[in-house]
């Protein structure tokens, strides 16, 4: 397995993605969604009171971005991360193109690594688009007023921007873990429906479980609790405990999923 070989596979997969409608549409929806939400908020008088920073969403654009973050982690990110990852391997089964793909000068390990790279890259890109569009929408439509953080301290716009951006970055480990799970399902089930559907349903189920007051270890094992890690970044003093735990859990899920997925692909007979 060479880096160049992996890079070549990744480039080819990107070309295929770019030619498909769903991945592009999802990214466009991410970008447009934040602006639509900000505009709607501006027009109405009520605020989303059940989300963190909901009450300040009409006062500071940074609060709006954090509201989008809270909502996206619940509903959007699991779907976004599986839309490409859940299909990447299963599509070859659907089209019957494994024979074509593997009878080339690239080892199976390179094919796996290249596809995985693209899946993770797409998820990271989707999060970046959500983050950038929500911050932009907030600043443009609501305004760059100081943000009152979770300990009642007002942050200057530059401080708020840094913390908000960091909060979005803090969702990456969990998002990548979900991506890895979708990848694994795509390889093992050879079905795009399972690769996309199961992570979404799984994430929702995990969040329902998280509402129940269970032991901390169990909560950490639910990958969706890692999405709450950013809270500590917006408190005074900042605390990182939940974030660290979330990152460790995410890494564990990621390593195990990628490991099993890799071995499954290596051992598979493409028998047509």
């Amino acid at each position: 397995m060479t880096l160049r070989g992996v890079g070549t596979v990744a480039a080819v997969e990107c070309s295929k993605l770019a030619a498909q409608f769903k991945p592009r549409a999802a990214l466009a929806a991410c970008a447009a969604g934040s602006f639509a939400f900000a505009a709607a908020l501006r027009l109405q008088t009520t605020v989303p009171e059940d989300t963190l920073f909901g009450r300040s969403a009409k006062e500071s654009g940074f609060a709006l971005s954090l509201v989008v973050l809270g909502f996206a982690a619940l509903w959007v990110v699991p779907a976004l991360t599986s839309i490409v990852a859940g299909d990447l391997f299963a599509a070859e089964d659907r089209y019957g193109t494994w024979t074509m793909m593997l009878a080339r000068s690239r080892a199976r390990s390179e094919v796996f690594a290249g596809k995985a790279l693209v899946a993770f890259g797409y998820s990271a890109l989707a999060i970046a688009v959500l983050a950038a569009s929500s911050i932009a929408a907030g600043l443009l439509i609501i305004g760059p007023a100081p943000l009152v953080n979770l300990s009642g301290v007002a942050l200057t716009p530059s401080q708020a921007l840094a913390r908000t951006a960091f909060a979005w970055v803090a969702t990456l480990p969990a998002a990548l873990a979900l991506t890895a799970i979708a990848l694994l399902l795509s390889i093992v089930t050879r079905s795009s429906a399972a690769g996309i559907g199961v992570p979404v349903v799984g994430a929702l189920t995990m969040q329902l479980c998280a509402l129940v007051d269970g032991p901390q270890a169990l909560r950490t094992a639910l990958i969706t609790t890692a999405f709450d890690g950013w809270h500590g970044l917006l408190a005074e003093p900042r605390y990182y405990g939940p974030l660290v735990r979330g990152v460790l859990a995410s890494v564990a899920y990621l390593v195990v999923s990628v490991g099993i997925g890799y071995r499954t692909l290596q051992r598979r007979d493409i028998a047509g």
């Binding site: 060479t2 193109t97 074509m100 593997l102 000068s105 007979d269 028998a271």
Partner: protein
């Protein structure tokens, strides 16, 4: 440069309880087209998939272009290409776009213009110039086969494996593909040609491997195969073909089947044939024509792979039974 492009020795593969390949050897030399024959389910496609690294054999060794090949760890070496089953492509891309993707996968460091040139050459060689710009979703099976051929040619193969490459092509297109295989062999490549069409293999191949039920039942030159046959068919026309056939079924070493266009095909060695002709006369069946036919591979193949049935024994030169007319001929 190794003389043998492909050396697969002792290859075995089972899918669950079913043994698809049992200790199969396949050797293909450069500069020749090697036929791979066998009934459906014999294991031809599985063998090709093992050679291309798509299926991991349970046992055996595979050497491609003189180097050992490990289906799990290794990528298919440059210069080895194949087309197994009906080739599949991404339907949302054009034929050319599909080939561009595959060409990029092959040569990790070629520049874009070199890749484009290779793709254009492959498209032309496989006769797809008119359709390369259309989406694969709208391709017929024949067009897909041509595209599959183009995909294999992209790799400038020194070893080319073709599985039923002409099954969905019209006769003119099929001939083009056969000419291509001959050209590649003439240029020094080894071509493994798997087919059901015996006439095609006979015309195209110098060497042939026949597999049945996962085992090799013959491997060698086509001439050798012909020589191996225990008997040659004769074309026989008599005054009563039905009676002649019934008589043949009672004689050792004689097999008579109805021939296309009338008469009988008789398989027997010289001694058995002589006895049969004498017996025909004894039973009042006149021989109108008896000529030796050149054996086609088809009948050879069918014989080699058909289940053997035992002929009812009747001694050569036996006396006619009491109730049968005595022709007065000395036995």
């Amino acid at each position: 440069m190794a003389r043998t492009a492909l050396e697969a020795l002792g290859v075995s593969k089972s899918f669950g309880p079913r043994a698809a390949l049992r200790d199969v050897d396949l050797v293909a030399r450069r500069g020749e087209v090697h036929g791979l024959l066998g009934p459906n389910g014999a294991g031809k496609t599985t063998l090709m998939r093992a050679v291309l690294g798509l299926v991991r054999p349970d046992g055996g060794r595979i050497h491609l272009l003189g180097r050992p090949f490990d289906p799990v760890a290794d990528a298919v070496p440059d210069g080895v290409a194949g087309m197994v089953d009906t080739p599949a492509f991404y339907p949302y891309l054009t034929g050319r776009a599909n080939l561009m993707l595959l060409a990029r996968l092959d040569a990790a460091d070629a520049d874009a213009s070199a890749t484009r040139a290779r793709v254009d050459a492959a498209i032309e060689e496989s006769g797809l110039v008119a359709d390369a710009g259309a989406r694969v979703a709208g391709y017929s099976t024949g067009m897909r086969q041509r595209l599959g051929l183009a995909a294999a040619l992209l790799r400038s193969p020194e070893l080319l494996l073709l599985d039923e490459a002409t099954s969905s092509l019209d006769p003119a297109a099929a001939r083009e593909v056969r000419d291509l295989a001959r050209r590649l062999a003439a240029d020094g490549a080894a071509v493994v040609w798997s087919s059901h069409d015996m006439a095609e293999v006979e015309e195209l191949c110098a060497a042939v491997t026949i597999v049945d039920c996962g085992r090799v039942i013959f491997s060698g030159g086509v001439d050798e195969l012909r020589e191996r046959a225990p008997s040659l068919p004769h074309a026989l026309r008599t005054s009563d073909d039905r009676a002649a056939r019934a008589l043949a079924s009672r004689c050792i070493g004689v097999r008579a089947t109805p021939a296309v266009g009338g008469g009988l095909d008789v398989s027997a060695d010289a001694a058995a044939l002589d006895a049969f002709v004498i017996a025909l006369g004894r039973y009042g069946i006149a021989v109108r024509a008896l000529e030796r036919r050149t054996r086609s591979l088809e009948s050879l193949f069918l014989e080699l792979t058909a289940p053997v049935d035992l002929d009812v024994a009747c001694a050569i030169g036996a006396e006619p039974a009491d109730d049968e007319p005595d022709w007065g001929l000395a036995s």
